[in-house]
């Protein structure tokens, strides 16, 4: 029992953090929201070079994984810097392809995902796939099975301008019938939870900085107790989501992942509400960078499993295990 990241895992997170901080991610996000993907794709390559996507791909397909703890570490940082693109979807696609009965599609598609040459997206039991216009591997989970979609429909704006939703064109190559989806869903949820935690962390950090600078009534607003206590609550929420996230990464049990997902997303959303309130009107503008995280916190809350769905998963597991599962 040593429930702490080891020094290499921490160093990996720190180096991603430094790389993303230097990359001026907010302006990359703004380009991406306008459909200009060049800088986003360049950043994607650097993220891939750091090994992030390889963590979702088995060694047999030129990856390093799957390594859920390291993936969680990486996705916290991707969320902290509001990196745009179908990041979670690429991870989910990698797992889904690896789990197909026929290894052919995995052999053909996974090495490019691991290296960052290819970007995947995925329409999971619904019409929309994230960023279908930039993805090179578009997967659709449909009635007969997993399809490699030939193209995408018009882009629909999301509440989070950086998340561009696209329907996929029907038809295409059938990669596998009745694919096993549980593991892909687990990885997608875990990565989303981690991303949300990073988003919440960024919202809290930026708000703490803001309330230390902004003065009203002649003093920093951060010296008012009502302000302090909201931020303390945001910190408490995030602080208790983190162990659930890494605990889930260790067990990869669906109920643990669901618990981490709902807790991290609710904590991030609560942090977003606090961040908006404490920034006042400036927080309510699209031009101020805070908005990049505010809107993502809302979108991640329902992505890959609404709160209700996650809670039901937890209850189901406990009913089956007779309460000694945790």
């Amino acid at each position: 029992m040593r429930f702490l990241l080891d020094p290499e895992q921490r160093a990996f997170g720190d180096s991603l953090n430094a790389m993303l901080a230097a990359a001026d991610t907010p302006s990359v996000v703004r380009d991406w929201s306008r459909g200009e993907h060049a800088r986003g794709r360049a950043l994607w390559s650097r993220i891939a070079e750091a090994g992030v996507f390889a963590l979702a791909v088995a060694e047999a397909y030129e990856g390093l994984g799957p390594r859920p703890v390291e993936l969680a570490v990486a996705f916290v940082e991707l969320g902290r810097h509001a990196v745009p693109g179908p990041l979670v979807e690429t991870v989910a696609a990698a797992i889904l392809l690896a789990d197909l009965a026929d290894p052919g599609p995995a052999e053909r598609l996974l090495p490019a995902l691991a290296s960052g040459e290819a970007v995947a997206t995925l329409a999971w039991k619904g019409p929309y796939a994230l960023d279908g216009d930039v993805a090179t591997t578009r997967l659709a989970l449909t009635r007969p099975g997993l399809l490699l979609s030939p193209g995408h429909g018009p882009v629909r704006p999301s509440l989070d301008p950086a998340r561009r939703l696209t329907p996929l064109e029907p038809g295409g190559e059938l990669l596998g019938r009745d694919p096993a989806t549980a593991r892909a869903l687990a990885y997608a949820r875990l990565a989303t939870a981690a991303q949300a935690l990073g988003v919440g962390q960024a919202l809290l950090d930026r708000t703490v900085a803001h309330v230390g600078r902004r003065t009203q009534f002649g003093v920093p607003i951060g010296s008012f107790q009502a302000v302090k206590h909201r931020l303390a609550d945001a910190r408490i929420g995030l602080e208790f989501a983190r162990p659930l996230l890494f605990g889930a990464a260790l067990t990869m049990a669906p109920a643990d992942i669901a618990a981490a997902k709902v807790t991290a997303c609710e904590a991030a959303y609560a942090a977003a509400r606090t961040a908006l309130q404490l920034h006042g009107a400036i927080g309510y503008t699209a031009e101020y960078d805070l908005s990049l995280w505010l809107t993502k916190a809302r979108a991640l809350r329902t992505a890959w499993g609404e709160p209700d769905v996650c809670r039901a998963e937890v209850l189901r597991a406990h009913a089956l295990s007779g309460d000694r599962r945790w």
Binding site: V208, V211, F224, Q225, E239, A241, P243, L250
Partner: protein, 379 residues
């Protein structure tokens, strides 16, 4: 990153489980906050102590098992999962004992700890005063020099279990002229049955005398009952094994067991949709708290100090505990109004969590100022 326990730790857990299975009383003991219940809980402490289960993390010399923090956590999980009784010596074991380990003399440890472990001497904490609650440093009760010791005078209040306890530990002003309120305080132990002590039980919300007021009139305390140096009381009290206390104030095992009980109650009531989310959140919260504690314990074992993190911990568990018990009472409906059930007693107890051990407002200030670095200022 590892959540598995070593075979030796698992063996320790199994030993605890087997012992508890053989010894935990089949029916719940009467409430700890009644004379009869207090006596029954004292007897239970003696039974635990006979096989060295009453203070597992203490050195064997004082009746413990030298258990590591992780083993203590495992023991607590088993303890609460087994439905074992509440701990009447909680104040002594989690507050006074760590202080004695850090600041006491060998003579004090040898004298105080073994009868604490057996429940022969039950301790009360005498910190608060009528005018000194959140602003504890403003306390006024005094200790005056006398031949071979000190004379205590003043009033203490809200002292948990003092209605039935034997001895108390607390802070007293020994230098009224000290320049700052935190200075000139002395930490000492005294006898609740000594001449000059009047104990007035105070009924809590449900009428049970869960705490008491202490009126002290020239109560003699020998020098050997001063903890650490006179005048250093504040520092000693605040450091009360600062780190560990944050971890050990409330064990995750207790909330894991409560959440399990709530889940079974929910199922017994037909798994109503209306409370589904709250029950799921209770299960998730217990797990979050367990894992948070494992992470904190890992850092602690690495030699890191935890400090203000215990404030994060405290706000979380105290609010969690109330939410869990509110859900239970709501599930019980009209039955939930009955006062003489275990759920009701636990609910009443949970309500005090955000008040004692430093109110949650004070804890949020600590989080904001010391963890987030926000400016001190208007309160």
């Amino acid at each position: 990153m590892d959540l598995t326990h070593s075979p030796a730790d698992e063996a320790f857990r199994a030993e605890a489980r087997a012992w508890l299975r053989a010894h935990v009383p089949p029916d719940p003991l009467p409430s700890l906050e009644t004379g009869e219940g207090f006596a029954a809980h004292r007897a239970w402490e003696a039974e635990l102590a006979a096989d060295r289960w009453s203070a597992v993390n203490w050195p064997a010399a004082y009746g413990g098992r030298d258990a590591t923090l992780v083993r203590w956590l495992l023991f607590e999980e088993e303890y609460y999962a087994a439905g074992a009784p509440g701990r009447v010596n909680q104040n002594g074991v989690s507050l006074l004992a760590p202080t004695l380990f850090d600041h006491g003399t060998e003579e004090q440890r040898a004298r105080v700890l073994p009868p604490m472990a057996t429940g022969e001497v039950v301790w009360a904490q005498a910190w608060s005063e009528p005018e000194a609650g959140s602003d504890l440093a403003s306390l006024k009760s005094r200790a005056r020099r006398a031949a071979g010791g000190w004379l205590l005078s003043g009033q203490k209040t809200w002292s948990s279990r003092a209605a039935f306890a034997d001895r108390a530990f607390g802070l007293f002003r020994t230098d009224p002229d000290a320049p700052k309120p935190h200075q000139g305080l002395t930490y000492l132990m005294f006898d609740l049955r000594a001449p000059g002590v009047t104990v007035r039980p105070i009924a809590r919300l449900d009428g049970r005398p869960a705490f008491a007021e202490l009126f002290l009139d020239e109560v003699f305390v020998p020098d050997e009952d001063v903890i650490g140096e006179p005048g250093q009381g504040w520092r000693i009290a605040m450091s009360t094994a600062g780190n560990e206390r944050g971890l050990m104030l409330r064990s995750p095992g207790r909330f894991l067991a409560s959440a399990g009980r709530l889940h079974r109650l929910w199922q017994a009531q037909g798994s109503p949709e209306s409370t589904k989310d709250r029950v799921a959140d209770a299960l998730i919260g217990a797990r979050a708290y367990q894992l948070f504690t494992f992470a904190a314990a890992s850092r602690f074992l690495d030699g890191e100090s935890l400090g203000p993190e215990s404030s994060v911990n405290k706000v979380f568990w105290s609010e969690y505990d109330i939410a869990l018990h509110e859900t239970a009472l709501d599930l019980l409906g009209t039955e939930g109004e009955l006062a003489d059930t275990e759920w009701a007693e636990r609910y009443v107890f949970s309500l005090s969590g955000p008040i004692y051990a430093g109110t949650n407002e004070i804890q949020r200030d600590i989080i904001a100022e010391r963890l987030l670095g926000l400016p001190k200022g208007r309160r």
